[in-house]
Amino acid sequence: MRRFNKKSVALASALTITAIIGAGCMGEAQPKSQQFTAAASSELNNHPTIDGGVYHPIMNGKTGPYYVNEDTLKGDFRIGREPTKNEIAAWDKDVMPDGTGLPEGEGSVEDGEEIYETKCVSCHGDFGSGGGGYPALSKGNAYDLQKTLTNQRTNPDADGPVRVFGSYWPQASTLFWYIRDAMPHTRSKTLTNDEVYALVAYILNINEMEIDGEEVDEEYVLTRDKFLKIKMPNEDGFEPKIQGEHALENVRTYYKNPKNFGAIKLKDPKERCMTNCQKQTAKVVYIQNGGISDFHPPLSSARTLPGEKAMPTNIAQTRYEENCAACHNLDAGMGAPEVGDKQAWANTLAKGLDKVYANGINGINVMPPKGGTTLSDKDFKAVVDYMIEKSK
């Protein structure tokens, strides 16, 4: 057993010294890195792991069961190059809570709603209500809903906690960063900074939030300065604390206590329960109402070859169902022409069949090229034909 004990602290200390000597051999190249090695390692000596687990130092040429060539750990590889300032700027696009990385710009709730209706509503639903498997962005007043976080669905009628941006997220910086990097999901990194500000303003509005005591109403115009004053209702709802000077120490201390995260730790494995280990009240609980059994492909461990029946009767139909139905099925409500809606398809086809094919192949609005499939043009057109046929 290699648990954290005084012996491993001593070993880690010895390693620190080796590390400093090792760095010293490299001459004057990186004085600050030596400094760091000493500081970081001494911290690690007192706290061998941050997650409550076992630490495996490299000793006697091994780490745990693995041999290590310790000559590989000495550095001075002379590989790679320094990135240019422009290269770093091109990739360093993250946004931090203190405003690091947050660009100048502005956007109004009104503009945000317009962009939302064009580019977001098909997945996230009216007023961010969610749909089609995509997350909801709002369920109403953020301050009221934050209070639902203690809800537990321990009986069938109970309401669960509401975990949307307004009621749950710790920081607003995440929203700006994620929208700019990853939204819309089918065409990410296409929004301007002003458009992102507008969408953030709209999402604050539908979450009925305030900035600096002022309601984010339909007239509101969000700027960088105002953004930095957003205080999330559930900012203090998370543990361990990860910000500030003592953050790492907080985290280490937190995971030293198994009670914080529902774990059980024994001093000696002999202490473990071998008889009467369940509460008297514990019963055998079965899967209710068949549970979840929507598995694809269906469960089977058979080693027989699939027969003719297993082959799809209509390949275009299968491809439609796998790739297109989520948005195009009747009553999908995603804004796309729905299969079976004669009027919608008549309007679409008024553009001419070639235009319909081209729009589908190149993508239109939030629909990605070929609906995100890897079908050939010919196969894709066959799916479109199927959809038209079913909408006559």
Partner: protein, 440 residues
Amino acid sequence: MSNKTSQDDNIELSQRRNFFKRTAALGATALAGTSLLASQKDDPAIMHHVPWGQKWGDPVTKNLYGVPSKYEHNVTRRYTKLLASGNYRASIAVTPIHELKGIITPNGLFFSRSHGGIAHVDPQEYRLMIHGLVEKPIVLTLDQLKRYPSVTRVHFIECPANGGQEWRAPQYNSLQFSKGFMSCAEWTGVYIKTILKDLGLKPEAKWMLSEGSDNSEMGRTIPIDKVLDDAMIVWAQNGEALRPEQGYPVRLLLPGWEGNLCVKWLKRLEFASEPWFCKEETSKYTALKPNGKAVQHFYANEVNSTVTSPSPEIPWTDLEDGQLVEIEGLAWSGMGTITGVDLSFDGGKTYVEAKLKGLVLPKAWTRWSYMHRYKKGERLLLTSRARDDAGYIQPTVDEETSVMGVESVYHRNAVETWEVTPEGKVNHVQVRTPGGVKNA
């Protein structure tokens, strides 16, 4: 319990009997068998030439990258619409662990999770940038990255939502879906601390942002402790390049920690003194407790185990009365090495100790086994319980939910139970107090 002990004794005893006696006994059985078999038909699979024995097989020129036997077509990843959004671009396909042997998952069956679809990165255009609080930022091509001295390690990767749909009650009558949000492979790459040796990490660096180049620009925040311990940048999986589903050409590997932290299609590492708040560090990948506080930065997957044979998918309906059968399972811990597994036949009331088998490695799948003399018509509640060298042991469902409630989604590692029915069918059940228990 007494029943189990006597079974153990029987097995031990039979092993101690001398070889002659055992051979004699087997001979008698065989003779009895012969008279019975006289009236049975001969097996055509034995009596006839088989088609593949009388003609040429495939030339070696076929399938230059090998594929499984066509008869194994049901051994695949599987998905459910419940766990899909974005038209299966923010979704998961899970591993058929009921069909796996040993501790290595074949690359084509390794579970696949992405947040913006599976990216196909051109290795010629691949770049890795490391910057922020370092003396010397660096940019590397793929070839340059692979010139660093490599290390090879066997580690599991587990989605922290493995079993996460079953906090309130069992939902999946399937091992693949109950526990298949994980896989285990041999990974090759470089320790990040090896690269940092030349970059000069500044003393105020406390956090590392790891960011992918995929459509979701997947990012997560890592504490420096892990970076300087066993964090790796990996480019190979079971001896070959990573599969696209695993982040080809390069992913982060944080042994034992949430799969989500092991960012795929890795593009950028930045060091800072304060943490980032990434999209997957919000309502996702945080575990909400009944007091309304959520555990964030919930790194390691805790000690866990499951019975893999029997399973709902491959039950005991074929067993004969009196047959000696191996009960087998997996155990794993993101906090250390598995030290032992106990097995219960009554849903976790009483336990006997199972045996570990094969390689037992830190933060890796570990196989365990127990020999059982099957009685036709018996009903069993099979529950396994693992422990690790950090001192952790799996909690009961009641123990875990008394602290974490039923809304945590992530990091569920309470013991799991299979009911074996008198017909030998296997059902997923849980042994727990209806309505839950309050924290003491």
